[in-house]
Chain length 278, copies 2
DNA sequence: AACAACGATGTACATTGTACAGTGTACGTC
DNA sequence: GACGTACACTGTACAATGTACATCGTTGTT
């Protein structure tokens, strides 16, 4: 048994010199089981014998999301989730056999499934795309931990797929090819994510470092003045001071979002125009 | 002594219920010391007594960068860095008193300081901005760990400032205000970072999960077919299949970069045009 | 020669994900 | 009604992390 695990892991990290079993890595990954969980299938051929389960996948996922929202992703540990649902740490693995990785996949899909998706009939494409961006921004604001979730190989559950379908529809009727529509959506969502990332850690830093933005800038400015020759870095000193000192992190992220979305929409607009002329 | 640390930490995380000293957090943060280190100042009033230092800040930072480049940021531990320079784990703190956080700041600045910055005289603004983007992309390709570094409150060392000055100069002569120039640069770099992020974890996933992109897609497609009603998600099934199955992760990131940069430059172009007319 | 300042090191602790072995429960079959 | 089997649950254990603290050793100054 142990041999099997070790062997499979050696395959997993081929090229590694050491052969010990590292901690905190893979549990038992299995795409099929994860998919079944995402769609809440009772893949087991009907459970009969044994004690009745005292929890459900949903309750576990719910607890994890609450913890992540309130205290950040780092606070989501198997132990904290277990405590939140009133079970022992290892019990969680009964409901989420894939461990923490699988749990995160489930969390992501649930959040997306719940998001609001207002009807966009009658809106122009710019309003539709802006609305999609705003919705994603709102999701990130409510669940900052989502920003750090990888977007390649997303958990293909009902939430993710519903969201994808809805967002693709914003590009209906523009004469773009399938590949272009996907690229355009990726482009928009990439911008929103990058902006949310900046906003989130700008918001987190004051607490994490026990220092306000203003205090940090003041300290840097005073010390940099003695070290840096302003004539060697004219743009950096002038623009950096203007961009940094004046505005707090939160306001800055807001301005960057509006500025960026204007550029994004203008950029897409040119693609659309070009396509219409063909 | 211990009291002082604890007290300062209570201030640090005011609002937290518990009062224990958590692990792996702050070492001794001090903006002034970090800045001195970044600029390699001998802030101490001339070291005289005591054994000669056997290492330098640069050697430590160098080792850390090498490890990060070759094995990823997770492999950069105080212990692995110490081993690489042939010292005991705790010795590292002699040269980088701020611990891992400060070490990361130093790594970032060194990488930026070394980056190539070719002369851009004679180029049009589109070429200049594209070149800036390409350079950042190349840096991320060579040092994927940089992607995860926070960009708010960057380490204001010689590398970061030189890079900032250089990149701002790409927007010279366009008639944009200081605030607009900073916003435009942030916009461009944000796109590059978002793209690099996707590319990096698309590249990392096959190794990390012992599963090729093709195998993953095949597994998902087969199972999803039984669960999802294609008529309910027409766009998602059609476009998702086209966008996902056909291309591997690496090629996809490349295409997304070219597509995105075209939109970014078009978007900025409209801003520039508008400014010229005024 | 004694002292003071500073570099180096070993030990210790709290925290993480999860493998493994063991304990108890409830249903189906005899 | 007794029994066995499948399953839920739990406690223990381990390797790895950042870094506080106390100690030891080395060097130049007094």
């Amino acid at each position: 048994m142990y041999i099997v695990q070790c062997t499979s892991y050696v395959v997993l990290v081929k090229g590694l010199e050491t052969d010990f079993m590292p901690p905190n890595k893979p549990a038992t990954p299995d795409p099929a089981r994860t998919l079944s969980l995402l769609w809440r299938h009772t893949l087991s051929p009907l459970r009969t014998r044994g004690p009745r389960p005292s929890l459900t996948v949903d309750r576990v996922v719910e607890a994890a999301i609450t913890i992540a929202d309130e205290q950040g992703l780092d606070a989501v540990t198997m132990r904290s989730v277990a405590q939140a649902v009133g079970a022992s740490p290892m019990s969680v693995y009964t409901y989420v056999p894939g461990g923490k990785t699988e749990l995160l996949d489930l969390m992501i899909d649930v959040v997306y499934l719940r998001a609001e998706r207002p009807d966009q009939g009658g809106l122009g494409w710019r309003e539709r795309v802006l609305s999609v961006a705003d919705q994603n921004r709102a999701i990130y604001a409510a669940h900052p931990w989502l920003i750090h979730a990888s977007t390649s190989r997303p958990p293909l559950g009902p939430g993710v797929i519903t969201k994808y379908e809805y967002e693709l529809s914003a590009f209906d009727g523009l004469g773009l090819s399938d590949v272009e529509v996907d690229a355009a959506l990726t482009f928009v969502l990439g911008f929103v994510q990058a902006n949310a990332l900046r906003a989130a850690d700008a918001a987190a830093l004051p607490e994490a470092t026990a220092m306000t933005d203003a205090a940090w800038w003041e300290a840097q400015a005073e010390l940099l003045g003695r070290v840096v020759d302003p004539t060697k870095f004219p743009r950096a000193t002038r623009i950096g001071e203007a961009a940094g000192a004046a505005q707090g992190g939160a306001y800055q992220a807001d301005a960057a979002y509006r500025f960026g979305m204007d550029r994004v929409l203008d950029g897409l607009g040119q693609l659309v125009e070009r396509q219409k002329k063909v």
